[in-house]
Symmetry: C2
């Protein structure tokens, strides 16, 4: 397969418009190798994100649901969250699973890396596959979280995927990879 | 399967911080059903997005590569773009495939709907599966685009997916769905 040409853009100017948690934005004026100038390119800066395909000893998937304010809808999702300073991505994923569901233990493997959107997000999302997890604690969510835990069979997860009910693409991508690779 | 509880948040205040193409942002103060108040929730408003799994009569996948400035990297991707005013999502997808690659014709089916991120994006991404497409025109890109077209076999696309080289989750999700459903 031919390697794609790598033609970086030249940054003519760059300034921060905001620097808040969940809203750190840089505006850049850029020049393409074609000579075209784009006066406003917006880059959203985030820490890396993590999510987990967690499966119990009884082969049940540990899923969650929560209201998502930007859409005004509630969907099924994987456990997911942000990397905090000083954590490895594995530690972040294990912490999020424990906080959001009370599940932990088991065997953990890095399963997939995606970009939320390479156009305007500077971060990556790491998916872990955790097998043989067990309920080891109470759920312990943060102020901005209101999370319901659901244990599902493989067939129930597949049914949700086929009907676009796991709508968050950061979660649909690794779940579809899991089922494509399993066969 | 148990339906998830739908517990919407109450908007206490809402204001636009910016209203530019690719940077329209609303900040809201919200109250959760738990009683918790989140003083700053940021919502990025975008038009709906489209992307296309396009396959020629010879069973080759019409892929592209382009430099993505937020990551500073070049990756393989599906053809993708924004819905313009007055277009159906199908028309947008057909226009983007024609502009970015010169391919068109064939049979088109809606294949998947995802959310780029229901936490902070108000839009959806529609994936179409276009089969039996043909080269019918020259590539015709916009000022901010510098796009290389690649025809690939199914095995080449799968190899890229398995090695996380199709990193954009909006594109990895439908491609993995395609290969999971094909088997």
């Amino acid at each position: 397969m031919k390697k794609p040409l790598h033609r970086p853009w030249k940054v003519l100017s760059s300034e921060y418009l905001a620097n808040r948690p969940w809203f750190t934005v840089r505006r850049e004026k850029v020049e393409l190798p074609t000579g075209a100038i784009v006066p406003e390119w917006y880059i959203f800066e985030f820490p890396n994100w993590v999510n987990v395909i967690a499966i119990t000893k009884d082969k049940e998937f540990v899923m969650i649901s929560q209201y998502r304010h930007a859409l005004g809808q509630t969907h099924f999702e994987l456990v997911a969250g942000c990397c905090e300073q000083g954590e490895t991505v594995l530690q972040s994923a294990q912490r999020e699973l424990l906080e959001e569901t009370g599940y932990g233990g088991g065997e953990w493997h890095e399963f997939m890396i995606t970009s939320p959107n390479p156009t305007n997000h500077n971060n990556f999302a790491y998916t872990f596959l955790a097998t043989n997890v067990e309920r080891i604690a109470e759920q312990h969510t943060e102020a901005g979280e209101d999370i319901e835990v659901h244990l599902m069979s493989k067939d129930e997860v597949l049914e949700l995927l086929h009907s676009d009910q796991i709508i968050q693409c950061l979660h649909a991508a690794p779940l579809w990879k899991y089922f494509a690779s399993e066969k």
